[in-house]
Each structure stands twice: as structure tokens, then as C-alpha cells.
């Protein structure tokens, strides 16, 4: 367990008079002193334990700077940064090629927003403190029989007094091996229509009855897991939102936070994806020996990607602005997810093709590098980690069609709602 003693976080936006550009200068300055020099090289050879240790160390560094929870309210230890400053923070972290908190992805972008929106005061205080102190979270949503049809999940939670007793199997629970906590969707009413019988629980991963097995991914990495639950007890006090109201909690927070998460990813795609590709390609040649960047077709393709990455960055800001201003249709996050993930995939595919056979030589994927490890082929494969999870892009297109364009839902099987 991480160290649980409470520490006061410095408040990054202590001076509300600080202009956005002053804030940028401060972040840039901070990065020059705190981003570990040469971390990509040292992390390239790191084993899993060393990767996790590095993640914890970087999380502590970010926290000391007041940049771990930029969007949380100050009374919960956040920095309550306005959107413009969050955007600048993302830009500057990408510019400095700061490590990415990959192991804390679920904690920061899934668990924390859900707890902020739906948690009781006790839950906020307990769990947000834990997240700041470094607890790793995983997400127990998918099941072998409930992927895109998530609401068909069958892991059951039977209430006995003040605990739920969980039995079932979860899959694709990334980081379950290292996790302290799990946001988990369970069936609490088997007779209700399928979306109305689901509850959202916060499960201690150190509870008895949990078995975790790693699943090796197509990239060779092993942070995927499956998880078996055998009479696992979760206190009723750890339920988020009302009993049988878990679907709403999951749907709301998945969508609302994806935009901000991708704002950061868009900046990284700009810097460590596209710009790094251009810099790298300056040293590559084509099959006839001519320099890659002297070729008009290559130049045109790169220019097209340049434009699309700028469009992605602008789109994130526009749509987040609309969402926070209550002007959205609810499908903005789905549009961002579809466009970002497919742009990432197309860019990495192009880079792999352009690099030719040398791209086939294996390079390590670097956990802390996020989606741009510098291994073009590896990053291309890894991009399925965006197009498939979190509601596959096909599910996102359903959401866009139904919520944004008012198209009718698909026919449901008998008994479904």
C-alpha cells in the first residue's frame, strides 16, 4: 500500500491573477528542472517493477509541483485550473516530453471523475486522497460475455447486510496486477432490465477472493489482465451512486472526462508523434536511396498529418468548451475519441510503412512514453488500445448517430430496454 499520510499539495493556481502566459512560463521552467533527463533511454531497458517504480516517482514529482490533479477543486487537493490553463499544462508537458502517468490512467481519468461527480463527501475525502497519494486503480467493466454489449454483464453482487458479495469474471482489467483499487460494475438486480440492474462499486484489490492473471497483449506487453471474483466482499459504503444506478455513473463519467484526457494525448501526438516522425524521417531514405523528406508524396502525406493533428488539437478545445458550457449534444467525447484514435492509428501505420524494413526490428515499448514510444510498428499495434477499449469506435459511432443526429436505436432483443 502506498503511504497514506496526508500531505498538503501546493496549489498550482494559487494566484488567480496569474495570466495564462505567465502560467505557461512557470510550467516550462518547472519542466526544465523536473523532467528526468534521458528517461526514455533508461526506461527502454526497464522491467515491469522498474517501470512501476518510475511511475510512482514521477507521480510524486508532479504532485510536488501541484500538477497531479489540475482540474480537481482545491478543497480536495486539486488546483482547480481553468480549462485554458489545463490546455497549457498539457502542451508544456508534451513539449518537455514529460513521462506519462500510464499506470495511473484509470485512477486519474476514470475513478477520480466518477468519485468527484457521484461520490459522498466521505468517499471523496478517502479515495481522492488515496489517488493523490499514489494508489493504482484498475477498471473492472468488461467480461468475457459483455464487451461492446457492456450492459449484459453478469458478475453478480448479492447484498448481505452491509456488504455486497461478488462472484464472476472480469477481463481486460489493465493494471489489475498492480492495482490497489478497482472501479467495478456488477449486477445487483438480475430481474430488472439489463441497464437498470447494475451498480458501480469501489473494490479493494487486496480483498480475499480475487485472483488476477495477466494476459499477454498483441504487442507482447503484459499489463492486460483477467480477474476472477470468488465471494469477494465489498462494503455497501463503497457503492458510488444509487443501487442499480451504476450504468448512469459509468456512462456519464466515461464521456465527460474523455475530452480532457485526449487534450493531453493530442499534444503528445503533435510533439512525440508527428514532430518526432518528421525529425526521424529526416534521416531516412526511400528504396531508391533518395532522402524521404525530399519526396513530394511523402511531404504531402506528412503535411496532411500535420494539418489533422492541428485540427485535433483545436477540436478538443472547442468541444470541451462546448461540453463545459452546456452547449454540447453529449456526443462530443465520442467524436473526439473516434478522430483521435484513428488519427493515431493512421499516423503510426504511415510511419511504419515509411520506415520500411528497419521498422520490423523490435524496439521496446516504453510504458511511461504512453502511445508514442518511438517504435513505429509497436505504436501502431498499440493504437488498438485506443480504437477498441472504452466503448469500441463502432459503439462510439452508434452514440454519435443516436445522440448527435437523432437516429433510431438498433432493435433490441426481447426484454431489453
Amino acid at each position: 500500500m502506498p503511504d497514506m499520510q496526508t500531505r498538503a499539495d501546493p496549489v498550482a493556481d494559487s494566484d488567480a491573477d496569474e495570466s495564462v502566459e505567465q502560467f505557461r512560463t512557470r510550467v516550462r521552467e518547472w519542466c526544465t528542472h523536473h523532467v528526468p533527463a534521458g528517461w526514455r533511454a533508461t526506461q527502454a531497458d526497464a522491467d515491469e517493477d522498474a517501470e512501476i517504480a518510475f511511475q510512482r516517482q514521477w507521480r510524486d514529482t508532479l504532485r510536488s509541483g501541484g500538477f497531479l490533479a489540475p482540474d480537481w477543486p482545491t478543497n480536495l487537493g486539486g488546483s482547480a485550473l481553468p480549462l485554458a490553463k489545463q490546455a497549457v499544462l498539457a502542451e508544456e508537458m508534451a513539449r518537455a516530453d514529460a513521462p506519462r502517468l500510464s499506470a495511473y490512467q484509470v485512477a486519474i481519468f476514470n475513478a477520480a471523475p466518477a468519485i468527484l461527480h457521484f461520490g459522498t463527501e466521505e468517499q471523496k475525502s478517502r479515495f481522492l486522497t488515496g489517488i493523490r497519494d499514489g494508489e493504482v486503480w484498475c477498471q473492472g467493466f468488461s467480461e468475457p460475455g459483455a464487451g461492446s454489449d457492456l450492459a449484459a454483464l453478469s458478475t453478480r453482487a448479492d447484498r448481505r447486510g452491509d456488504v455486497y458479495v461478488l462472484n464472476g469474471q472480469k477481463i481486460w482489467t489493465s493494471w489489475a496486477k498492480h492495482a490497489d483499487w478497482c472501479i467495478i460494475l456488477v449486477r445487483t438486480d438480475r430481474d430488472a432490465p439489463k441497464r437498470r440492474g447494475i451498480s458501480y462499486l469501489l473494490m479493494d484489490m487486496h480483498s480475499p477472493g480475487i485472483t488476477v492473471r495477466p494476459i499477454k497483449q498483441a504487442t507482447g506487453a503484459g499489463d492486460f489482465c483477467e480477474m476472477f471474483l470468488n465471494d469477494v466482499e465489498v462494503p455497501v459504503a463503497n457503492r458510488l451512486g444509487p443501487e442499480n444506478g451504476g450504468w448512469q455513473v459509468a456512462a456519464t463519467t466515461l464521456a465527460s472526462e474523455r475530452g480532457v484526457a485526449i487534450m493531453e494525448l493530442a499534444e503528445r501526438l503533435h510533439r512525440m508523434g508527428l514532430r518526432h516522425l518528421i525529425d526521424s524521417a529526416a534521416g531516412w531514405t526511400l528504396d531508391d536511396g533518395t532522402p524521404a523528406l525530399s519526396d513530394p508524396v511523402v511531404r504531402e502525406r506528412l503535411a496532411g498529418f500535420h494539418g489533422e493533428v492541428q485540427i485535433l488539437r483545436a477540436m478538443c478545445r472547442r468541444l470541451i468548451d462546448a461540453m463545459t458550457g452546456g452547449r454540447g449534444t453529449g456526443a462530443e467525447a465520442s467524436m473526439i475519441k473516434v478522430y483521435y484514435s484513428e488519427l493515431l492509428q493512421r499516423l503510426m501505420d504511415f510511419a511504419t510503412e515509411l520506415r520500411g524494413l528497419p521498422a520490423q526490428a523490435q524496439y521496446p515499448l516504453i510504458l511511461s512514453a504512453g502511445w508514442e514510444s518511438g517504435s513505429w510498428l509497436g505504436d501502431f499495434l498499440n493504437s488498438f488500445g485506443w480504437t477498441i477499449p472504452g466503448g469500441s469506435n463502432e459503439i462510439q459511432r452508434n452514440i454519435i448517430g443516436e445522440q448527435h443526429l437523432g437516429l433510431p436505436r438498433e432493435p433490441r432483443a426481447p426484454g431489453e430496454t
Binding site: I278, A282, T290, P291, L293, S294, P296, R299, E300, L302, A303, G304, H306, G307, E308, Q310, I311, L312, A314, M315, R318, L319, A322, R327, G328, A331, E332, M335, V338, Y339, E394, Q396, R397, N398, I400, G401, E402, H404, L405, G406, L407, P408, R409, E410, P411
Partner: protein
């Protein structure tokens, strides 16, 4: 999503005016008429001061900017309105204000603002190419007067123009001049998109007096640069608007058209096409907002060019895809003359080809963001 809430009044006013006067029936009636241009609607647009939006107040205009223009282009584009708005109300004022002949600007702008005269801009090659290296219109200096010769093809709105602003290849670089359209030979081209009128413009020894010269040398290069940026932005606004209309109509059709006992919009094959349209529209809006921000910089430095070129290339490509999918999703009815889907697709195809192809624009972006190809030649 609404980009410019402060422009809501303008947008509402336009919708009110155009819903009656630029209905699909009205547009089709104009396309079938010999004029091919809606004179009554042009008067309405002028009476609403839209033709004077970019013209400063001192010259009888409104003194507004490209943000307002983008709203007008959007509403006109959604209705595939057959008007020479881009040439006369956007490009001609842009050229006159970017040149250094104030007297000429003062002489021409009031009539343009009032919609009394219409002006087309000739700044392309025999096939409408944007690169001056391809151009055939030349200007020879004859004792202070310039003499224009040569041909420019596919000039937007030339058949309905009273005046022409011409960017020509001069003896030492580019020159920009204003001539009356009757001094040149203008032949209308029968184009597939009948909502726009293009023409071939031929000059045969047309003499331009010094007071009709708008710019020379570096100033002429600056005029052309601004013209090309604004033209690319304007046509991209139009393309995005046409695509948005195509998306709206396709979604509306998919909600009501039933096959196999249910609305076709419930099938993923159709729903996902529509979702792709929505993503294309949102990304197009983002591209246009970047381009508009760049064009509104107080002191354009040329650094705005990649954002505008990206918008032109990306939005026009996307619009053709959206309009293609719109025809397909409508099925047989979408391929009939009586349905508007072919009007949207044809306009999107013309927009893509006008003022530089997507490929040409991407190459401009490449030259701005990549090391020069010559850096690799030993």
C-alpha cells in the same frame, strides 16, 4: 455547435431572409433559367448590406470582417445559392483594400458595397491554376501604361461581372490591375455544377492606365497572397456548409425512410456513415476556426498560410466524402435530378477544385512545416 454567438443576430436575419428567397424550388428555377444567376436575390443580399460587409464604412460599406463573411457564406452555401458573392463581396474588396491605389479603391468600393456593380478576380492560369508560373495573362509596360494579353480559364463569376481585377505576370514580377469586363472577351463555361458560373477570360491588347493599377512588385505579391488565402478560406466555408446540409438531410432521411420494417438509420451501415459525416463536420469546423484565427491576425506575416491551406485541403476533401456518402445513403432517390443531393455533391466537387487542389495546398503546408527539399540535394 455555434462558433460565434455574437454573430447570432446576423445568422438569424439571414435564415429568415433566405428560407423564403433561396428555397430549393427557387434555386432550381434559377438554374434552369438562361441567366443562371439570381438577380432578385442579389438585390436582396445587397439591401441587407451583405455585399458591403468587408467594405469600410467610409466607402459605403459595413466595415465588418471575415467572421461575418463566414456566417454569410455558411448560410448561402447550405442552400447552394447561385450568386457571385465570393467574387464580388469577398475577393474584390479584399484585393482593393490590399493594394496601394486608394483612389481606385475609393472609386470602385461604393458600387461593390451597394451591389450595383459586380466584380470577378482573375488570378489563375489557363486551367485556373493558382501558381503564377502557369499563368498566361501578361502585362507589358508601355510608357507607364500596361497592356494585358492572354487567357485565364475557369474564372469564378466572370460571366456576370461588370469589372475584373486582374493579377498578371508583368515585366518584373506581378502586377494587379482593374479593367472593365467589356474590354475583355468573357465566355461562360458550361460546368457540371450549375450553381456557380465560371468563364474563360481573354485579353487582347487591353490597355490599363496608371490610375487603374492596383499594385506592382512586392505589393502585388502581397495582394495575391491575401487573395489566395481569403479565396481558399471562403470556398472552404462554402464546402463545410454544403457538407453540413448534406449530413442534416441524410440524417433526416435515415430517420424516416423504412426498409425491412424499420428506419434505415437504425442500421449501423447507415448510422455509421452518418456518424462519420458528423466527425468530418466537427473537424472541418475546427479547421475553419484555426484558419479564421490566422486570417484575423493584425499583421499577417505569411505564417497564417499553413492553417488556411490545411482548411482548404481538409475541408474540401471531407465535403466531397460527406456528399458522396449522402448520395449513397439516399439510395435511388439520391441519384435523381429532382433530389438536391447531386447539387450538393457537384458544388463540393467544384469547391475542391477551385483556388488550388487539396494536393497543392498540402504542398504549401509541407513547404512551411518541413525542411526544404533542397536541403537533401547534394
Amino acid at each position: 455547435m455555434n462558433d460565434h454567438p455574437e454573430l447570432d443576430d446576423l445568422r438569424e436575419m439571414l435564415r429568415g431572409a433566405l428560407d423564403d428567397r433561396a428555397s430549393s424550388e427557387r434555386v432550381r428555377a434559377v438554374l434552369d433559367s438562361p441567366e443562371g444567376f439570381d438577380g432578385a436575390l442579389w438585390r436582396t443580399v445587397a439591401d441587407l448590406d451583405l455585399t458591403g460587409l468587408l467594405v469600410p464604412e467610409e466607402f459605403g460599406g459595413v466595415g465588418a470582417g471575415l467572421a461575418e463573411i463566414s456566417v454569410v457564406l455558411h448560410e448561402l452555401g447550405r442552400r447552394v445559392v447561385p450568386l457571385p458573392f465570393i467574387s464580388s463581396a469577398v475577393l474584390a474588396p479584399t484585393a482593393l483594400l490590399a493594394g496601394d491605389n486608394t483612389a481606385l479603391a475609393a472609386a470602385m468600393l461604393p458600387a461593390l458595397a451597394a451591389g450595383r456593380r459586380r466584380c470577378a478576380v482573375v488570378a489563375g492560369g489557363p486551367e485556373g491554376q493558382p501558381d503564377p508560373a502557369t499563368w498566361a495573362v501578361t502585362a507589358i509596360d508601355r510608357r507607364g501604361h500596361y497592356v494585358l494579353d492572354g487567357m485565364a480559364g475557369f474564372v469564378l463569376d466572370a460571366p456576370d461581372a461588370d469589372d475584373l481585377i486582374v493579377v498578371a505576370r508583368g515585366p518584373d514580377g506581378l502586377v494587379v490591375a482593374a479593367v472593365e469586363a467589356r474590354d475583355a472577351d468573357v465566355d461562360a463555361i458550361a460546368t457540371t455544377d450549375r450553381t456557380r458560373r465560371l468563364g474563360t477570360v481573354t485579353f487582347t491588347g487591353v490597355t490599363v492606365s496608371p490610375d487603374r493599377m492596383l499594385a506592382r512588385d512586392d505589393r502585388a505579391i502581397a495582394v495575391l497572397s491575401r487573395l489566395q488565402s481569403v479565396a481558399a478560406f471562403a470556398v472552404a466555408c462554402d464546402a463545410a456548409a454544403v457538407a453540413e446540409r448534406a449530413m442534416d438531410e441524410t440524417a433526416a432521411y435515415a430517420r424516416v425512410r423504412h426498409q425491412f420494417g424499420r428506419a434505415i438509420g437504425s442500421f449501423q451501415a447507415i448510422k455509421h456513415k452518418c456518424a462519420n459525416m458528423a466527425v468530418s463536420i466537427e473537424t472541418s469546423r475546427a479547421a475553419l476556426s484555426l484558419a479564421l484565427d490566422a486570417l484575423q491576425l493584425d499583421e499577417p506575416s505569411g505564417a497564417e498560410a499553413p492553417a488556411v491551406a490545411t482548411a482548404k485541403a481538409y475541408v474540401c476533401d471531407a465535403a466531397v466524402t460527406v456528399c458522396t456518402d449522402a448520395v449513397q445513403a439516399h439510395g435511388g432517390i439520391g441519384f435523381t435530378w429532382e433530389h438536391d443531393a447531386h447539387l450538393w455533391l457537384k458544388r463540393a466537387l467544384l469547391d475542391r477544385a477551385l483556388f488550388g487542389s487539396p494536393s497543392w495546398h498540402r504542398r504549401q503546408v509541407a513547404d512551411a512545416v518541413l525542411p526544404a527539399p533542397s536541403a537533401y540535394l547534394s
